[in-house]
Amino acid sequence: MSKILEINNLHVEFDTYGGTVHAVRGLDLAVQKGETLAVVGESGCGKSVSFQALMGLLPMPPGRISSGSANFQGNDLLKLKESEMRPLRGSQIAMIFQDPMSSLNPTKKIGDQIAESLIIHKGMSKRDALKESLKLLELTRIGEAPKRLNQYPFEFSGGMLQRVMIAMAIACKPQLLIADEPTTALDVTIQDQILALLKDLQKEYEMSLILITHDLGVVARMADQVAVMYAGQIVENGSVDDIFYRSAHPYTLGLKQALPNSQEGKSAQLIPIDGSPPDLFSPPKACAYAARCPMARKVCLEKAPLIFEASSKHLSRCWLQHPQAPSHPELFCGERK
Protein backbone atom coordinates (compact mmCIF):
# COMPACT_ATOMS: atom_id res chain seq x y z
CA MET A 1 0.00 0.00 0.00
CA SER A 2 1.29 3.47 -0.78
CA LYS A 3 0.71 6.86 0.69
CA ILE A 4 -1.45 9.15 -1.37
CA LEU A 5 -1.00 12.14 0.91
CA GLU A 6 1.56 13.00 3.52
CA ILE A 7 1.37 16.20 5.54
CA ASN A 8 4.39 17.25 7.55
CA ASN A 9 4.67 19.89 10.23
CA LEU A 10 1.84 22.10 9.00
CA HIS A 11 1.51 25.40 10.85
CA VAL A 12 -1.43 27.74 10.23
CA GLU A 13 -1.88 31.10 11.89
CA PHE A 14 -4.51 33.81 11.75
CA ASP A 15 -3.66 37.45 12.24
CA THR A 16 -6.64 38.95 13.96
CA TYR A 17 -7.66 42.06 15.76
CA GLY A 18 -6.75 40.57 19.14
CA GLY A 19 -3.45 38.93 18.14
CA THR A 20 -2.23 35.87 16.29
CA VAL A 21 -4.28 32.70 16.53
CA HIS A 22 -2.11 29.59 16.28
CA ALA A 23 -4.81 27.40 14.85
CA VAL A 24 -2.66 24.51 13.56
CA ARG A 25 0.67 23.85 15.26
CA GLY A 26 2.70 21.19 13.51
CA LEU A 27 0.29 18.75 11.99
CA ASP A 28 1.61 15.42 10.68
CA LEU A 29 -0.64 13.03 8.80
CA ALA A 30 -0.52 10.34 6.18
CA VAL A 31 -3.31 8.78 4.14
CA GLN A 32 -2.94 5.44 2.36
CA LYS A 33 -4.42 4.78 -1.03
CA GLY A 34 -8.00 3.58 -0.86
CA GLU A 35 -8.17 3.93 2.91
CA THR A 36 -10.27 6.06 5.17
CA LEU A 37 -8.55 8.30 7.65
CA ALA A 38 -10.74 9.80 10.33
CA VAL A 39 -9.64 13.02 11.98
CA VAL A 40 -11.36 13.51 15.33
CA GLY A 41 -11.25 16.32 17.79
CA GLU A 42 -13.52 18.72 19.56
CA SER A 43 -14.83 21.88 18.02
CA GLY A 44 -12.22 24.55 17.29
CA CYS A 45 -9.19 22.26 17.40
CA GLY A 46 -8.26 23.14 13.84
CA LYS A 47 -9.65 20.29 11.76
CA SER A 48 -11.33 22.38 9.10
CA VAL A 49 -8.52 24.91 8.99
CA SER A 50 -5.91 22.21 8.37
CA PHE A 51 -7.63 20.78 5.34
CA GLN A 52 -8.71 24.09 3.95
CA ALA A 53 -5.06 25.09 4.13
CA LEU A 54 -4.20 21.91 2.27
CA MET A 55 -6.68 22.76 -0.49
CA GLY A 56 -5.50 26.36 -0.65
CA LEU A 57 -8.93 27.53 0.43
CA LEU A 58 -7.97 29.48 3.52
CA PRO A 59 -8.92 33.12 3.46
CA MET A 60 -5.54 34.82 3.20
CA PRO A 61 -5.31 37.23 4.94
CA PRO A 62 -6.06 36.75 7.83
CA GLY A 63 -4.89 33.15 7.37
CA ARG A 64 -1.23 32.27 6.86
CA ILE A 65 0.54 28.94 6.32
CA SER A 66 3.76 29.58 8.16
CA SER A 67 5.45 26.27 7.45
CA GLY A 68 4.87 22.70 6.41
CA SER A 69 4.67 20.47 3.38
CA ALA A 70 1.95 18.28 1.93
CA ASN A 71 3.04 15.65 -0.55
CA PHE A 72 0.28 14.54 -2.88
CA GLN A 73 1.44 12.27 -5.70
CA GLY A 74 4.83 13.93 -5.90
CA ASN A 75 3.56 17.49 -5.64
CA ASP A 76 3.90 19.63 -2.56
CA LEU A 77 0.43 21.10 -2.41
CA LEU A 78 1.50 23.91 -0.11
CA LYS A 79 4.17 25.10 -2.53
CA LEU A 80 2.06 24.94 -5.69
CA LYS A 81 1.02 28.16 -7.31
CA GLU A 82 -2.68 28.95 -7.33
CA SER A 83 -2.81 28.27 -11.06
CA GLU A 84 -1.08 24.91 -10.64
CA MET A 85 -3.35 24.00 -7.77
CA ARG A 86 -6.56 24.74 -9.63
CA PRO A 87 -6.51 21.73 -11.99
CA LEU A 88 -6.08 19.46 -8.96
CA ARG A 89 -8.93 20.96 -6.98
CA GLY A 90 -12.22 19.29 -7.72
CA SER A 91 -10.68 16.76 -10.06
CA GLN A 92 -7.91 15.02 -8.02
CA ILE A 93 -8.85 16.22 -4.57
CA ALA A 94 -12.40 17.14 -3.72
CA MET A 95 -13.91 18.47 -0.56
CA ILE A 96 -17.31 18.32 1.07
CA PHE A 97 -18.05 21.05 3.57
CA GLN A 98 -19.49 21.17 7.02
CA ASP A 99 -22.70 23.09 6.34
CA PRO A 100 -24.48 22.01 3.16
CA MET A 101 -27.11 24.75 3.53
CA SER A 102 -24.68 27.60 3.08
CA SER A 103 -22.19 25.77 0.88
CA LEU A 104 -24.30 25.92 -2.25
CA ASN A 105 -24.99 29.06 -4.23
CA PRO A 106 -28.59 29.99 -3.39
CA THR A 107 -29.30 31.60 -6.75
CA LYS A 108 -27.97 28.94 -9.08
CA LYS A 109 -29.71 25.79 -10.18
CA ILE A 110 -28.41 22.57 -8.64
CA GLY A 111 -27.72 21.05 -12.04
CA ASP A 112 -25.59 23.99 -13.11
CA GLN A 113 -23.61 23.83 -9.91
CA ILE A 114 -22.81 20.16 -10.36
CA ALA A 115 -22.06 20.58 -14.05
CA GLU A 116 -19.54 23.32 -13.42
CA SER A 117 -16.63 21.11 -12.41
CA LEU A 118 -17.32 18.71 -15.28
CA ILE A 119 -17.18 21.58 -17.70
CA ILE A 120 -13.91 22.99 -16.45
CA HIS A 121 -12.04 19.76 -15.70
CA LYS A 122 -13.36 17.43 -18.35
CA GLY A 123 -14.04 20.03 -21.00
CA MET A 124 -17.59 18.76 -21.46
CA SER A 125 -20.23 20.78 -23.19
CA LYS A 126 -22.93 22.17 -20.99
CA ARG A 127 -25.40 19.59 -22.30
CA ASP A 128 -23.19 16.61 -21.65
CA ALA A 129 -22.27 17.99 -18.28
CA LEU A 130 -25.91 18.28 -17.32
CA LYS A 131 -26.56 14.71 -18.49
CA GLU A 132 -23.62 13.56 -16.41
CA SER A 133 -24.91 15.58 -13.45
CA LEU A 134 -28.17 13.72 -13.66
CA LYS A 135 -26.32 10.41 -13.48
CA LEU A 136 -24.35 11.65 -10.49
CA LEU A 137 -27.49 12.77 -8.72
CA GLU A 138 -29.06 9.40 -9.32
CA LEU A 139 -25.93 7.80 -7.97
CA THR A 140 -26.47 9.66 -4.71
CA ARG A 141 -29.98 8.19 -4.55
CA ILE A 142 -31.91 11.42 -4.62
CA GLY A 143 -35.54 10.92 -5.56
CA GLU A 144 -36.86 12.53 -8.77
CA ALA A 145 -33.38 13.46 -9.88
CA PRO A 146 -34.38 14.95 -13.28
CA LYS A 147 -36.70 17.42 -11.60
CA ARG A 148 -34.15 18.22 -8.92
CA LEU A 149 -31.62 19.27 -11.51
CA ASN A 150 -33.63 22.40 -12.24
CA GLN A 151 -34.32 23.37 -8.68
CA TYR A 152 -32.59 25.82 -6.36
CA PRO A 153 -30.91 24.92 -3.06
CA PHE A 154 -33.66 26.39 -0.93
CA GLU A 155 -36.05 23.79 -2.30
CA PHE A 156 -33.91 20.99 -0.78
CA SER A 157 -33.64 19.53 2.69
CA GLY A 158 -30.30 19.36 4.46
CA GLY A 159 -29.76 15.70 3.70
CA MET A 160 -30.56 16.22 0.04
CA LEU A 161 -28.18 19.13 -0.13
CA GLN A 162 -25.43 17.01 1.32
CA ARG A 163 -26.12 14.44 -1.41
CA VAL A 164 -25.79 17.22 -3.93
CA MET A 165 -22.50 18.22 -2.35
CA ILE A 166 -21.33 14.62 -2.63
CA ALA A 167 -22.42 14.40 -6.25
CA MET A 168 -20.50 17.57 -6.91
CA ALA A 169 -17.40 16.31 -5.15
CA ILE A 170 -17.23 12.95 -6.93
CA ALA A 171 -18.11 14.38 -10.32
CA CYS A 172 -14.55 14.08 -11.60
CA LYS A 173 -13.72 10.85 -9.78
CA PRO A 174 -11.16 12.35 -7.41
CA GLN A 175 -8.48 10.18 -5.83
CA LEU A 176 -8.84 11.88 -2.50
CA LEU A 177 -12.07 13.06 -0.97
CA ILE A 178 -12.01 15.23 2.11
CA ALA A 179 -15.33 15.22 3.92
CA ASP A 180 -15.51 17.88 6.60
CA GLU A 181 -18.15 16.77 9.09
CA PRO A 182 -20.48 15.71 6.30
CA THR A 183 -23.18 14.61 8.69
CA THR A 184 -22.99 17.00 11.62
CA ALA A 185 -25.86 19.14 10.43
CA LEU A 186 -28.12 16.16 9.75
CA ASP A 187 -30.38 14.00 11.86
CA VAL A 188 -29.38 10.47 12.73
CA THR A 189 -31.22 8.49 10.05
CA ILE A 190 -30.09 10.78 7.28
CA GLN A 191 -26.62 10.66 8.79
CA ASP A 192 -26.62 6.89 8.41
CA GLN A 193 -27.70 7.04 4.79
CA ILE A 194 -25.08 9.62 3.91
CA LEU A 195 -22.31 7.61 5.56
CA ALA A 196 -23.43 4.46 3.79
CA LEU A 197 -23.45 6.38 0.52
CA LEU A 198 -19.95 7.69 1.12
CA LYS A 199 -18.69 4.22 1.92
CA ASP A 200 -20.23 2.73 -1.21
CA LEU A 201 -18.91 5.48 -3.42
CA GLN A 202 -15.48 5.15 -1.90
CA LYS A 203 -15.38 1.48 -2.78
CA GLU A 204 -16.76 1.99 -6.23
CA TYR A 205 -14.38 4.83 -7.12
CA GLU A 206 -11.42 3.51 -5.12
CA MET A 207 -11.04 6.85 -3.45
CA SER A 208 -9.04 7.67 -0.37
CA LEU A 209 -11.23 9.39 2.15
CA ILE A 210 -10.38 11.84 4.89
CA LEU A 211 -13.34 12.04 7.20
CA ILE A 212 -13.34 14.94 9.62
CA THR A 213 -15.66 14.49 12.55
CA HIS A 214 -16.01 14.83 16.26
CA ASP A 215 -18.24 11.79 16.53
CA LEU A 216 -16.41 8.65 17.57
CA GLY A 217 -19.39 6.60 16.47
CA VAL A 218 -18.83 7.74 12.91
CA VAL A 219 -15.15 6.92 13.28
CA ALA A 220 -15.81 3.38 14.44
CA ARG A 221 -18.08 2.79 11.52
CA MET A 222 -16.05 4.30 8.71
CA ALA A 223 -12.35 4.59 9.50
CA ASP A 224 -9.30 2.45 8.86
CA GLN A 225 -6.89 4.90 10.43
CA VAL A 226 -7.65 7.52 13.04
CA ALA A 227 -5.88 10.74 13.96
CA VAL A 228 -6.96 12.41 17.19
CA MET A 229 -6.44 16.14 17.11
CA TYR A 230 -6.19 18.54 19.99
CA ALA A 231 -5.43 22.27 19.96
CA GLY A 232 -3.88 22.22 16.51
CA GLN A 233 -1.80 19.06 16.89
CA ILE A 234 -2.28 15.33 16.38
CA VAL A 235 -2.05 13.76 19.82
CA GLU A 236 -2.69 10.15 18.87
CA ASN A 237 -2.53 8.33 15.59
CA GLY A 238 -3.19 4.68 14.84
CA SER A 239 -5.53 2.13 13.39
CA VAL A 240 -9.15 2.23 14.43
CA ASP A 241 -8.56 -0.72 16.75
CA ASP A 242 -5.56 0.97 18.30
CA ILE A 243 -7.57 4.04 19.08
CA PHE A 244 -10.60 2.28 20.45
CA TYR A 245 -9.10 -0.68 22.25
CA ARG A 246 -5.60 0.55 23.00
CA SER A 247 -6.07 4.25 23.58
CA ALA A 248 -2.68 5.66 24.34
CA HIS A 249 -3.55 9.30 25.07
CA PRO A 250 -5.62 10.63 27.97
CA TYR A 251 -7.52 12.91 25.59
CA THR A 252 -8.66 9.94 23.51
CA LEU A 253 -9.81 8.30 26.70
CA GLY A 254 -11.71 11.44 27.59
CA LEU A 255 -13.38 11.50 24.17
CA LYS A 256 -14.39 7.90 24.56
CA GLN A 257 -15.86 8.44 27.97
CA ALA A 258 -17.89 11.33 26.65
CA LEU A 259 -19.42 9.06 24.03
CA PRO A 260 -22.85 7.52 24.67
CA ASN A 261 -22.93 3.73 24.93
CA SER A 262 -19.24 3.60 25.33
CA GLN A 263 -17.42 0.99 23.27
CA GLU A 264 -15.82 -0.42 26.38
CA GLY A 265 -19.23 -1.53 27.54
CA LYS A 266 -18.18 -1.15 31.13
CA SER A 267 -18.92 2.44 32.06
CA ALA A 268 -22.38 3.39 30.93
CA GLN A 269 -21.94 6.75 32.55
CA LEU A 270 -21.03 9.75 30.40
CA ILE A 271 -18.08 11.71 31.67
CA PRO A 272 -17.55 15.10 30.07
CA ILE A 273 -14.02 16.47 29.77
CA ASP A 274 -13.56 19.24 32.29
CA GLY A 275 -12.44 22.73 31.30
CA SER A 276 -12.07 24.17 27.85
CA PRO A 277 -9.43 23.95 25.13
CA PRO A 278 -6.44 26.24 25.55
CA ASP A 279 -6.37 29.78 24.31
CA LEU A 280 -4.93 29.55 20.81
CA PHE A 281 -3.67 33.12 21.01
CA SER A 282 -0.90 31.89 23.29
CA PRO A 283 -0.96 28.10 23.33
CA PRO A 284 0.91 26.48 26.22
CA LYS A 285 4.54 25.55 25.58
CA ALA A 286 4.15 22.21 27.30
CA CYS A 287 1.35 19.69 26.76
CA ALA A 288 -1.75 21.54 25.58
CA TYR A 289 -4.03 19.03 27.26
CA ALA A 290 -2.23 19.00 30.60
CA ALA A 291 -4.51 21.59 32.16
CA ARG A 292 -7.52 19.35 31.65
CA CYS A 293 -5.79 15.99 31.95
CA PRO A 294 -6.77 13.90 34.98
CA MET A 295 -3.46 12.04 34.71
CA ALA A 296 -1.26 15.10 34.38
CA ARG A 297 2.15 15.09 36.04
CA LYS A 298 4.45 17.99 36.72
CA VAL A 299 6.45 17.28 33.60
CA CYS A 300 3.34 17.66 31.48
CA LEU A 301 3.06 21.28 32.58
CA GLU A 302 6.75 21.94 32.04
CA LYS A 303 7.91 20.27 28.86
CA ALA A 304 6.32 19.67 25.49
CA PRO A 305 5.63 15.95 25.22
CA LEU A 306 7.59 13.83 22.75
CA ILE A 307 5.99 11.39 20.39
CA PHE A 308 6.14 7.82 21.59
CA GLU A 309 5.25 4.63 19.80
CA ALA A 310 2.76 2.79 21.97
CA SER A 311 2.66 -0.14 19.61
CA SER A 312 3.62 -0.67 16.03
CA LYS A 313 2.47 2.32 13.96
CA HIS A 314 0.51 3.62 16.89
CA LEU A 315 1.85 6.96 18.05
CA SER A 316 0.97 9.12 21.01
CA ARG A 317 2.10 12.57 22.07
CA CYS A 318 2.13 11.99 25.82
CA TRP A 319 4.78 11.81 28.53
CA LEU A 320 2.98 8.90 30.11
CA GLN A 321 4.18 6.80 27.18
CA HIS A 322 7.75 7.26 28.38
CA PRO A 323 9.20 3.78 28.90
CA GLN A 324 9.76 4.44 32.58
CA ALA A 325 6.72 6.58 33.29
CA PRO A 326 4.23 5.46 35.92
CA SER A 327 1.39 3.52 34.34
CA HIS A 328 -2.32 4.05 34.50
CA PRO A 329 -4.81 1.22 34.33
CA GLU A 330 -7.05 2.85 31.70
CA LEU A 331 -4.23 4.07 29.49
CA PHE A 332 -2.63 1.65 27.06
CA CYS A 333 1.07 1.82 27.58
CA GLY A 334 2.39 -0.59 25.00
CA GLU A 335 4.02 -3.91 25.58
CA ARG A 336 6.73 -2.40 27.70
CA LYS A 337 5.48 -3.74 31.02
Binding site: S103, N105, T107, E116, H121, Y152, F154, M165, M168
Partner: protein, 311 residues
Amino acid sequence: MKKYLLKRLWHGIITILFISTATFFAMHMVPGDPLSSEKAITPETRKALEAEYGIDKPLFIQYGIFLKKTFIHGDLGFSYTNRNTKVNEIIANHFPVSAKLGLLAIFFATSGAIMWGAIAAKYRNKLPDYTSMVLVILFISVPSFVFASGAQLLIVKLNAATGWNLPYRGTDSFVSQIVPAMILGLGTMAFLTRIMRSSLLEVIHSDYIRTARAKGLSPKQIFFSHELRNAVLPVITIIGPAIAAITTGSFVIETIFTIPGLGKFFVQAVQQNDYTVIMGTTVFYGSFLVLTVLAVDIVYGFIDPRIQVEK
Protein backbone atom coordinates in the same frame (compact mmCIF):
# COMPACT_ATOMS: atom_id res chain seq x y z
CA MET B 1 -47.48 34.53 -6.17
CA LYS B 2 -50.61 35.93 -7.77
CA LYS B 3 -52.13 36.63 -4.39
CA TYR B 4 -48.97 38.39 -3.35
CA LEU B 5 -49.00 40.56 -6.45
CA LEU B 6 -52.62 41.53 -5.92
CA LYS B 7 -51.93 42.39 -2.32
CA ARG B 8 -49.00 44.57 -3.28
CA LEU B 9 -51.06 46.28 -5.97
CA TRP B 10 -53.87 46.95 -3.51
CA HIS B 11 -51.41 48.45 -1.07
CA GLY B 12 -50.01 50.62 -3.83
CA ILE B 13 -53.46 51.94 -4.71
CA ILE B 14 -54.25 52.76 -1.10
CA THR B 15 -50.92 54.52 -0.78
CA ILE B 16 -51.61 56.62 -3.86
CA LEU B 17 -54.99 57.56 -2.43
CA PHE B 18 -53.31 58.57 0.80
CA ILE B 19 -50.79 60.69 -1.06
CA SER B 20 -53.53 62.42 -3.02
CA THR B 21 -55.54 63.10 0.11
CA ALA B 22 -52.54 64.48 1.94
CA THR B 23 -51.74 66.65 -1.07
CA PHE B 24 -55.28 67.95 -1.34
CA PHE B 25 -55.60 68.93 2.28
CA ALA B 26 -52.09 70.35 2.50
CA MET B 27 -52.88 72.60 -0.44
CA HIS B 28 -56.15 73.71 1.09
CA MET B 29 -54.49 74.71 4.32
CA VAL B 30 -52.96 77.58 2.40
CA PRO B 31 -53.93 80.86 4.02
CA GLY B 32 -55.57 83.41 1.76
CA ASP B 33 -57.14 82.32 -1.46
CA PRO B 34 -55.49 81.06 -4.60
CA LEU B 35 -56.74 83.92 -6.72
CA SER B 36 -55.18 86.59 -4.55
CA SER B 37 -52.29 86.90 -6.94
CA GLU B 38 -54.67 88.03 -9.63
CA LYS B 39 -54.44 91.76 -9.91
CA ALA B 40 -57.54 93.82 -9.89
CA ILE B 41 -60.32 91.49 -10.75
CA THR B 42 -63.90 92.49 -10.61
CA PRO B 43 -66.23 90.57 -8.31
CA GLU B 44 -67.91 89.07 -11.37
CA THR B 45 -64.78 87.68 -12.95
CA ARG B 46 -63.79 86.48 -9.54
CA LYS B 47 -67.07 84.58 -9.19
CA ALA B 48 -66.64 83.13 -12.62
CA LEU B 49 -63.10 82.07 -11.91
CA GLU B 50 -64.08 80.53 -8.59
CA ALA B 51 -66.77 78.56 -10.30
CA GLU B 52 -64.40 77.52 -13.04
CA TYR B 53 -61.88 76.11 -10.59
CA GLY B 54 -64.61 74.78 -8.32
CA ILE B 55 -63.34 76.57 -5.24
CA ASP B 56 -66.70 78.06 -4.34
CA LYS B 57 -67.95 74.74 -3.04
CA PRO B 58 -67.49 73.32 0.47
CA LEU B 59 -64.13 71.62 1.09
CA PHE B 60 -65.37 68.05 1.20
CA ILE B 61 -67.29 68.38 -1.98
CA GLN B 62 -64.20 69.83 -3.58
CA TYR B 63 -62.30 66.83 -2.28
CA GLY B 64 -64.82 64.43 -3.77
CA ILE B 65 -64.67 66.21 -7.10
CA PHE B 66 -60.88 66.22 -6.98
CA LEU B 67 -60.75 62.47 -6.37
CA LYS B 68 -63.31 61.75 -9.03
CA LYS B 69 -61.64 63.92 -11.62
CA THR B 70 -58.17 62.67 -10.80
CA PHE B 71 -58.76 58.97 -10.60
CA ILE B 72 -61.79 58.38 -12.79
CA HIS B 73 -61.18 60.86 -15.54
CA GLY B 74 -57.45 61.20 -15.06
CA ASP B 75 -57.97 64.95 -15.28
CA LEU B 76 -55.82 67.23 -13.15
CA GLY B 77 -57.53 70.46 -14.11
CA PHE B 78 -56.25 73.72 -15.55
CA SER B 79 -53.21 75.68 -14.51
CA TYR B 80 -53.82 78.82 -12.48
CA THR B 81 -51.14 80.88 -14.13
CA ASN B 82 -51.71 79.73 -17.69
CA ARG B 83 -55.47 79.60 -17.81
CA ASN B 84 -55.67 77.68 -21.05
CA THR B 85 -53.18 74.99 -20.25
CA LYS B 86 -54.24 71.70 -18.76
CA VAL B 87 -52.03 70.24 -16.07
CA ASN B 88 -52.18 66.94 -17.94
CA GLU B 89 -50.66 68.63 -20.95
CA ILE B 90 -47.91 70.16 -18.87
CA ILE B 91 -47.04 66.78 -17.46
CA ALA B 92 -47.24 65.14 -20.85
CA ASN B 93 -44.94 67.76 -22.30
CA HIS B 94 -42.36 67.99 -19.56
CA PHE B 95 -42.26 64.57 -17.96
CA PRO B 96 -40.64 62.81 -20.93
CA VAL B 97 -37.72 65.22 -20.70
CA SER B 98 -37.30 64.43 -17.02
CA ALA B 99 -37.76 60.73 -17.63
CA LYS B 100 -35.03 60.69 -20.23
CA LEU B 101 -32.67 62.49 -17.91
CA GLY B 102 -33.65 60.27 -14.99
CA LEU B 103 -33.19 57.05 -16.95
CA LEU B 104 -29.79 58.17 -18.08
CA ALA B 105 -28.92 59.05 -14.49
CA ILE B 106 -30.13 55.69 -13.18
CA PHE B 107 -28.11 53.97 -15.86
CA PHE B 108 -24.97 55.86 -14.87
CA ALA B 109 -25.62 55.32 -11.19
CA THR B 110 -26.22 51.58 -11.30
CA SER B 111 -23.64 50.60 -13.85
CA GLY B 112 -21.06 52.84 -12.22
CA ALA B 113 -21.89 51.56 -8.75
CA ILE B 114 -21.68 47.91 -9.75
CA MET B 115 -18.33 48.32 -11.41
CA TRP B 116 -16.92 50.59 -8.81
CA GLY B 117 -18.22 48.66 -5.82
CA ALA B 118 -16.84 45.47 -7.31
CA ILE B 119 -13.41 47.01 -7.72
CA ALA B 120 -13.46 48.36 -4.17
CA ALA B 121 -14.44 44.99 -2.74
CA LYS B 122 -11.94 43.06 -4.81
CA TYR B 123 -9.11 45.34 -3.71
CA ARG B 124 -10.36 45.60 -0.16
CA ASN B 125 -8.09 47.58 2.15
CA LYS B 126 -5.84 48.46 -0.76
CA LEU B 127 -5.44 51.73 -2.58
CA PRO B 128 -8.39 51.39 -4.98
CA ASP B 129 -10.67 50.62 -2.06
CA TYR B 130 -9.47 53.55 0.01
CA THR B 131 -9.67 56.03 -2.83
CA SER B 132 -13.09 54.86 -3.86
CA MET B 133 -14.39 55.02 -0.31
CA VAL B 134 -13.08 58.56 0.02
CA LEU B 135 -14.77 59.51 -3.24
CA VAL B 136 -17.98 57.78 -2.20
CA ILE B 137 -18.25 59.66 1.05
CA LEU B 138 -17.39 62.86 -0.78
CA PHE B 139 -20.11 62.32 -3.35
CA ILE B 140 -22.59 61.54 -0.59
CA SER B 141 -21.60 64.62 1.37
CA VAL B 142 -21.32 67.29 -1.29
CA PRO B 143 -24.72 68.54 -2.46
CA SER B 144 -25.50 67.88 -6.09
CA PHE B 145 -26.05 71.57 -6.78
CA VAL B 146 -22.41 72.18 -5.96
CA PHE B 147 -21.31 69.61 -8.51
CA ALA B 148 -23.80 70.94 -11.01
CA SER B 149 -22.70 74.53 -10.65
CA GLY B 150 -19.07 73.47 -10.53
CA ALA B 151 -19.44 71.50 -13.73
CA GLN B 152 -21.13 74.43 -15.40
CA LEU B 153 -18.42 76.80 -14.30
CA LEU B 154 -15.81 74.40 -15.57
CA ILE B 155 -17.44 74.07 -18.95
CA VAL B 156 -17.81 77.83 -19.28
CA LYS B 157 -14.17 78.40 -18.38
CA LEU B 158 -13.09 75.58 -20.65
CA ASN B 159 -15.06 77.05 -23.52
CA ALA B 160 -13.52 80.44 -22.85
CA ALA B 161 -10.01 79.05 -22.67
CA THR B 162 -10.15 76.77 -25.66
CA GLY B 163 -12.72 78.33 -27.88
CA TRP B 164 -14.76 75.12 -27.87
CA ASN B 165 -18.46 75.21 -27.66
CA LEU B 166 -19.40 72.56 -25.17
CA PRO B 167 -23.06 72.80 -24.19
CA TYR B 168 -23.69 73.60 -20.56
CA ARG B 169 -27.39 74.19 -20.52
CA GLY B 170 -30.58 73.22 -22.28
CA THR B 171 -31.39 70.02 -24.08
CA ASP B 172 -30.35 70.78 -27.63
CA SER B 173 -28.39 67.57 -27.95
CA PHE B 174 -27.86 64.22 -26.38
CA VAL B 175 -24.39 65.34 -25.35
CA SER B 176 -25.74 68.23 -23.36
CA GLN B 177 -27.71 65.77 -21.22
CA ILE B 178 -24.78 63.58 -20.32
CA VAL B 179 -23.19 65.91 -17.82
CA PRO B 180 -26.46 66.73 -16.01
CA ALA B 181 -27.40 63.06 -15.93
CA MET B 182 -24.06 62.04 -14.50
CA ILE B 183 -24.27 64.69 -11.82
CA LEU B 184 -27.85 63.76 -11.08
CA GLY B 185 -26.81 60.15 -10.61
CA LEU B 186 -23.66 60.88 -8.64
CA GLY B 187 -25.05 60.75 -5.09
CA THR B 188 -27.10 57.66 -5.87
CA MET B 189 -24.11 56.04 -7.48
CA ALA B 190 -22.02 56.65 -4.38
CA PHE B 191 -24.71 55.22 -2.18
CA LEU B 192 -25.17 52.16 -4.39
CA THR B 193 -21.41 51.69 -4.60
CA ARG B 194 -21.29 51.29 -0.87
CA ILE B 195 -24.02 48.71 -0.94
CA MET B 196 -22.43 46.86 -3.82
CA ARG B 197 -19.11 46.79 -2.02
CA SER B 198 -20.42 45.41 1.23
CA SER B 199 -22.72 42.95 -0.48
CA LEU B 200 -19.89 41.66 -2.66
CA LEU B 201 -17.67 41.38 0.40
CA GLU B 202 -20.31 39.30 2.09
CA VAL B 203 -20.62 37.09 -0.96
CA ILE B 204 -16.86 36.70 -1.31
CA HIS B 205 -16.65 35.41 2.23
CA SER B 206 -19.59 33.09 1.94
CA ASP B 207 -19.33 29.33 2.10
CA TYR B 208 -20.60 28.75 -1.40
CA ILE B 209 -17.75 30.73 -2.89
CA ARG B 210 -15.39 28.46 -1.01
CA THR B 211 -17.24 25.54 -2.58
CA ALA B 212 -16.79 27.07 -6.00
CA ARG B 213 -13.08 27.44 -5.35
CA ALA B 214 -12.90 23.86 -4.15
CA LYS B 215 -14.35 22.82 -7.49
CA GLY B 216 -11.34 24.38 -9.18
CA LEU B 217 -13.01 27.39 -10.76
CA SER B 218 -10.71 30.27 -11.59
CA PRO B 219 -11.21 33.62 -9.87
CA LYS B 220 -12.62 35.03 -13.09
CA GLN B 221 -15.14 32.20 -13.48
CA ILE B 222 -16.13 32.57 -9.85
CA PHE B 223 -16.57 36.29 -10.16
CA PHE B 224 -18.75 36.19 -13.24
CA SER B 225 -20.80 33.10 -12.59
CA HIS B 226 -21.25 33.30 -8.82
CA GLU B 227 -20.22 36.48 -7.11
CA LEU B 228 -21.41 39.21 -9.40
CA ARG B 229 -24.98 38.07 -9.72
CA ASN B 230 -25.50 37.45 -6.04
CA ALA B 231 -23.88 40.71 -5.04
CA VAL B 232 -25.99 42.74 -7.45
CA LEU B 233 -29.26 41.48 -5.96
CA PRO B 234 -29.28 43.80 -2.92
CA VAL B 235 -28.40 46.68 -5.21
CA ILE B 236 -31.51 45.98 -7.26
CA THR B 237 -33.78 46.05 -4.21
CA ILE B 238 -32.99 49.71 -3.65
CA ILE B 239 -33.31 50.86 -7.21
CA GLY B 240 -36.88 51.85 -6.29
CA PRO B 241 -35.82 54.34 -3.59
CA ALA B 242 -32.91 55.36 -5.81
CA ILE B 243 -35.36 56.40 -8.52
CA ALA B 244 -37.17 58.51 -5.94
CA ALA B 245 -33.91 60.18 -4.94
CA ILE B 246 -33.06 60.88 -8.54
CA THR B 247 -36.52 62.24 -9.27
CA THR B 248 -36.30 64.80 -6.52
CA GLY B 249 -32.69 65.53 -7.37
CA SER B 250 -33.87 66.50 -10.82
CA PHE B 251 -35.56 69.63 -9.40
CA VAL B 252 -32.19 71.19 -8.79
CA ILE B 253 -30.33 69.79 -11.74
CA GLU B 254 -33.03 70.80 -14.20
CA THR B 255 -33.20 74.27 -12.73
CA ILE B 256 -29.43 74.77 -12.86
CA PHE B 257 -28.99 73.37 -16.35
CA THR B 258 -32.23 74.96 -17.57
CA ILE B 259 -33.58 71.68 -18.80
CA PRO B 260 -37.31 72.00 -19.45
CA GLY B 261 -38.33 68.99 -17.40
CA LEU B 262 -41.16 68.52 -14.96
CA GLY B 263 -38.86 69.19 -12.00
CA LYS B 264 -37.95 72.64 -13.22
CA PHE B 265 -41.57 73.31 -14.00
CA PHE B 266 -42.62 72.22 -10.54
CA VAL B 267 -40.17 74.60 -8.90
CA GLN B 268 -41.52 77.38 -11.12
CA ALA B 269 -45.09 76.51 -10.26
CA VAL B 270 -44.29 76.66 -6.58
CA GLN B 271 -42.73 80.07 -6.99
CA GLN B 272 -45.84 81.25 -8.82
CA ASN B 273 -48.24 79.58 -6.39
CA ASP B 274 -49.83 77.67 -9.21
CA TYR B 275 -51.89 75.38 -7.02
CA THR B 276 -53.36 73.02 -9.57
CA VAL B 277 -49.96 72.41 -11.11
CA ILE B 278 -48.39 71.82 -7.71
CA MET B 279 -51.14 69.43 -6.73
CA GLY B 280 -51.21 67.64 -10.05
CA THR B 281 -47.45 67.21 -10.16
CA THR B 282 -47.29 65.95 -6.60
CA VAL B 283 -50.02 63.40 -7.17
CA PHE B 284 -48.43 62.38 -10.45
CA TYR B 285 -44.93 62.00 -9.00
CA GLY B 286 -46.26 60.30 -5.88
CA SER B 287 -48.14 57.72 -7.92
CA PHE B 288 -45.23 57.31 -10.26
CA LEU B 289 -42.87 56.57 -7.40
CA VAL B 290 -45.24 54.14 -5.69
CA LEU B 291 -45.70 52.25 -8.94
CA THR B 292 -41.97 52.27 -9.67
CA VAL B 293 -41.13 50.78 -6.30
CA LEU B 294 -43.83 48.19 -6.88
CA ALA B 295 -42.47 47.37 -10.31
CA VAL B 296 -38.93 47.01 -9.04
CA ASP B 297 -40.11 44.68 -6.28
CA ILE B 298 -41.99 42.53 -8.74
CA VAL B 299 -39.08 42.36 -11.14
CA TYR B 300 -36.84 41.47 -8.23
CA GLY B 301 -39.13 38.56 -7.44
CA PHE B 302 -38.34 37.17 -10.85
CA ILE B 303 -34.61 37.71 -10.59
CA ASP B 304 -34.06 36.25 -7.15
CA PRO B 305 -35.34 32.66 -7.10
CA ARG B 306 -35.52 32.71 -3.30
CA ILE B 307 -38.35 35.23 -3.29
CA GLN B 308 -40.83 33.03 -5.17
CA VAL B 309 -41.54 30.71 -2.29
CA GLU B 310 -41.74 33.28 0.48
CA LYS B 311 -44.46 35.87 -0.05
